[in-house]
Amino acid sequence: MANERIRHTDAGAPRRRERLTRRELLAGAAGAMGAAAVAPVAGQQSVTTTRRAGRGPNEVDQRSRFVTPQRDPSATSSRTPLQDLRGTITPADLHFERHHGGVPDIDPAQYELLVHGMVDRPTVFSLADLQQFPATSRICFLECSGNLRRGTPETLPQMVCGLTSQTEWTGVLLSTVLKEVGANPDATWFLAEGQDAAVMTRSIPMEKAFDDAMIVYAQNGDALMPGNGYPARLLLPGWEGNSSVKWLRRIELADQPFMTREETSKYTDPLGDGSQSRQFSFVMDARSIITDPAFPRVIEPGWHEIRGLAWSGRGRITGVDVSADGGTTWQAATLQGPVLPKAHVRFRHRWEWGGEPAEIMSRATDETGYVQPTWETLRAARGPRTRYHQNPITSWTVGDDGRVLFGAERLRS
């Protein structure tokens, strides 16, 4: 599967034949035959397509049959194929999913949002009501705080940290809705509750409601995908994905947190020897990952572009450093503008590989001066039992045979 995907991604790239040859050596006879079947003969393809009319216009376009990016689903989540994407916006159908009671099937005509508690006017809003409020759009990432798999050397970027995606969200500022219902100024927390079988609930500080929280109903300009909260969800830019409650059915204002299961027994971080736990750790710290070259690529000596994503829940990324020698020396990568706050940014760095064993890695810095830590630094700060918010520097090793493998050794202990 992985090799299938990467073959499509590579289609049309220079030196394709050479790379397939390398892969044939690795994959054996069966792989070689498959690769040969899709390898074009020079000139033949353009003749084939220019002498026969192609398909006409249709209702909904689909990816080329040669392009098959796929999320990687488990029982409770599916992960974005970071290695197959080249921009910063995640196609809606490839946005990661994480849910606790499955994806509900909600009729938008029946959808209602109740806002009550410490408000002057407890109110029920229809989807049309929410869409009639002044709208705003925002590009930001959404990341699950459980977004790290340490894995084996044969681990895809998707598996390392595919629980992050980016979207242009459209909806109404939560502060606009709270003004409509007359929020009590003494309210300090609100409960967000979903309409799924988990009836997901999180307590959110009102400060976030007044800052940049939104109720969104559009994903990349289209309706939300069901797995991302159709018809409406909470969006808390820069905060752990679980708090952006999907299928939002209820908001209740209060003057204390509700201490739901998700914010006590889950989504809390044991510290030190484990006798204490950090609670309400919402913000996602700065992070980056190289998405290419990465496993399962096999590269040739010569010029390459190291490419990846960086993001911070605290604001803008100000720099990404790249090392090709396992962290001994670092160079500044180029950031692709516009660099938006609380958003994925693309970084790129030209690199000439001479054929010797190498280890490539990236390190993000955000506008607060926070520098993405090593695994050792993170463990020293939090202890061995921390579960969420793990954002260590990760690496890819390149063998003298050109094979790129995940630097799993860096995340041992």
Binding site: L114, K179, A183, V199, Q256, T260, T264
Partner: protein, 186 residues
Amino acid sequence: MVGWVGVVGIIGGLWVAAPAAAGQQPSPPSDHPDSFGLGRPATTSEIEALDIDVMPDGTGLPEGSGTAADGARTWTRTCRGCHGPDGEGGTAAPVVGRDPSSNRSTVGNYWPYATTLYDYINRAMPRNAPGSLTAPQVYGLVAWILAKNDIITTEAVMDARTLPAVVMPARDRFVRDDRRGGPEVR
């Protein structure tokens, strides 16, 4: 479920001071009218139908009661298939265990509030039929789990008055998030 007056005290004190939003008004763009005239007033009955949350002070707990013996019957029928006959060793997360140094977080070593047990079981359990349990059944399951963890006696009756008074072993384990950005890794 908000319906009490100023019962913040010990429970809320730590957190109320934290994000310090009290007194802050929503601040949408200043050119917005006072009201867009959207939405309709919520009726008391529809609020009651949806307002199922239970807070640490017990606000939101319904009438009814249950003991560990009551809960044992419900456990056998609806819970043990996933959570195991004694609340551990099943395919689902263990709910029994008091060892604070264990890597497996349970109700006994990790949950700070007994009220959360009622809230969560009532809203999301059992996985194949969430929301199907009656209030006495939920109280019984809460009592069974707490008794299995040696937090209450097997005779103790759990209801809207007694459950919020249960002090959990992990009550004081939680600390505020002290990450603030900047160069220090926390």
